[in-house]
């Protein structure tokens, strides 16, 4: 395929990704079974007595009362609601992340039937980020041992390595 044509097809496909994200964003609220941050902020009462899933960052914990308070954010990462989760013995510290599934109640509270600790504290999200960077570097590094960038044609060509010949016997 000629370089110009490949660039053109590539641009069309990039628009395709953006289009998919737009469609996903436009249809998410009606297809996802649980309220988003925006929906909780604007129509909280509509979800009272419903069993819903909340995912949020822990603000405070009270092991004696078996409660913890989490922040639910909206699309802009702004705080949309602050919900007090009851009946949870989840071992988590402020700055951690939890999923809580249970019945939403008035006055921004929830009685949880299931709580999952995603990150016990802030250090675990840093751990995931650091390890993920290693993963990205490993994948790209290994890729570059097998493929070589041809800047003129904007393509990756297979490197001629002995490994290939070895593997083919």
């Amino acid at each position: 395929m000629r370089t110009g044509l490949r660039v053109a097809v590539g641009i069309v496909l990039l628009f395709g990704v953006v289009g998919l994200c737009i469609h996903y964003g436009a249809t998410y609220d009606t297809n996802w079974p649980h309220p988003t941050g925006e929906q909780l902020a604007t129509d909280y009462d509509e979800y009272v007595d419903d069993r819903i899933l909340l995912i949020g960052e822990v603000q405070s914990t009270d092991p004696v009362d078996e409660t913890l308070t989490i922040e639910i954010t909206d699309d802009a990462d702004e705080v949309a609601a602050e919900i007090e989760i009851h009946d949870t013995t989840a071992a988590v510290e402020p700055g951690g992340t939890v999923q809580a599934y249970g019945t939403l109640q008035a006055a921004e509270t929830m009685t949880a039937t299931e709580t999952v600790v995603v990150n016990h504290g802030p250090t675990e999200s840093q751990y995931k980020l650091a390890v993920s960077v290693v993963g990205i570097l490993l994948a790209i590094g290994y890729f570059l041992t097998q493929w070589q960038l041809n800047l003129q044609q904007l393509t990756f060509n297979q490197r001629s390595t002995t490994t290939e010949a070895d593997h083919n016997g």
Binding site: T115, A139, L154, T155, F156
Partner: protein, 170 residues
């Protein structure tokens, strides 16, 4: 998501095993599959630019989460296949397979309501029940996956040496 290192090592393991049985599936395709395993987490661009910012720019709803679905990785794989000099169809298939290995692995993790994310989008919004095997911050996932990948890497080295030896003796 599990962290990306686990996803990359899982892809390495699966595709290296495939290379033992399928002759044309050489190391360059193993490397390609590992790149495909990164694709779903391109949705983490959301850590730097919020959906709301892009919505304001475009004037329409936007959710980067679409990238973390079968539809998202398929288009990204099509883009990826354009930048290889030849065997574009194979590149596309291997990139998609790498992305699916990531999505399937994520489909095994714990959700509080017992159902995985709707990763089959746009084919379906179905959320399958999850066996709830792990949480993403559990370092034991990396220990297990890393150990298996290391064992496969060592065996792979041996497979190559054996083949080399048998070729020499022919």
């Amino acid at each position: 998501m599990a962290e990306l290192l686990s996803h990359v090592l899982i892809a390495y393991t699966i595709f290296t095993l495939a290379s033992w049985y399928v002759e044309w599936f050489t190391k360059r395709w193993v490397a390609m599959g590992m790149i495909g395993a990164l694709f779903p987490d391109l949705s983490r661009i959301g850590l730097f630019v919020t959906d709301a910012t892009i919505e304001t720019m475009l004037g329409v709803p936007f959710n980067i989460g679409a990238v973390h679905t079968i539809g998202g990785i398929s288009i990204l794989a099509a883009i990826g296949s354009l930048v290889v000099a030849d065997h574009q169809r194979t590149a596309f298939a291997v990139l998609v397979a790498g992305g699916i290995s990531h999505l399937l692995t994520d489909g095994l993790k714990i959700w509080a309501d017992g159902f995985a994310s709707a990763w089959l989008y746009p084919l379906s919004w179905y959320r399958h029940p999850t066996p709830g095997l792990y949480i993403s911050s559990d370092y034991r996932v990396l220990v297990v996956v890393g150990s298996v990948a290391l064992a496969v890497a060592l065996l792979d080295h041996r497979v190559i040496v054996d083949r080399h030896t048998s070729t020499d003796n022919r």
